[in-house]
Symmetry: C2
Subunit: 140 residues, 2 copies
DNA sequence: TTTTATGGTTGATAAAGTCAACAATATGTC
DNA sequence: GACATATTGTTGACTTTATCAACCATAAAA
């Protein structure tokens, strides 16, 4: 039995787009020519040491073709390295370079400034609730 | 002063993509060859009688070029009509056709089935809280 | 009346996304 | 060990979403 119209999808569609485009504009204004997806991947790699492409595919839910291309771009920009995986000859371990880490720190600052514009309208407790409920929906 | 890392952007990015791609797959499996953005626009038009392109641009935050193209598509598919605006010679009033309304009702059912998969993990109260907090962030 | 602003259309292009094909490697079966 | 099947990652090819620019018609301001 489908739920009543909660406005959930509409809300998510709107909020996600607003946050996303605002963040991307802020990153661009900081002088970086990274795609939004490049930034998201940098975040994921930083959050998950010893990851490989397959890890990112699973975590992000994105298509492996897209992930492979983005990784290739980021490696070309010197932001990450890929070393043979010790246990799987088909994979490589992905690591951020010092440059990659530095850039990510700067990008994070820009993104957090944008985030705070949205979150300023909520109490700390409300923010925590929103994130917790969202994560609950994402849990397997 | 930027907020601490709340995980907000990450969550939003993940959740929005998951919901979006699931919904789009469900709509496609219902036999419709509509883009995701077509569907979103149909929702917006249905929700706002007497709207025009500019209305949709403002409500959605999308670029007017994109909105114009999507409207053109939907009109070509017989899902909406555009009549001269009584007060503004540059605009047209957008109205869903009977076919458009019918299609939207069907699409809504498919989307709500998907929605309920995500929302089933929350109580009704939690759903309402999530949506309320989200809307609070979007308020001007 | 003239100038400036706005709404909508189209051109052109970029970013995000998806499915397919294939080579290399891993795993399972006998 | 040999062979069949599955998985991982790369690239080709294409679609969908998104953005900026240019322009015309109309509206609003000066």
């Amino acid at each position: 039995m489908p739920v009543e119209n909660t406005g959930f999808s509409d809300l998510l569609w709107q909020l996600a787009f607003q946050v996303r485009s605002r963040c991307q504009r802020a990153v661009a204004e900081s002088g970086f020519t990274l795609y939004g997806m490049h930034v998201r991947l940098l975040h994921l790699i930083a959050a998950e040491p010893f990851c490989r492409a397959q890890t990112l595919v699973e975590t992000s839910g994105r298509d492996k073709a897209q992930i492979a291309r983005l990784l290739k771009d980021l490696q070309a920009q010197g932001l990450l390295t890929r070393a043979p995986h010790p246990e799987d000859g088909r994979s490589r371990v992905i690591t951020l370079t010092a440059e990659g880490n530095e850039l990510l720190a700067t990008v994070r600052a820009a993104e957090q400034a944008v985030e705070s514009e949205f979150l300023a309208k909520l109490s700390e407790r409300e923010v925590e609730t929103f994130v917790r409920l969202g994560r609950k929906m994402l849990a397997p």
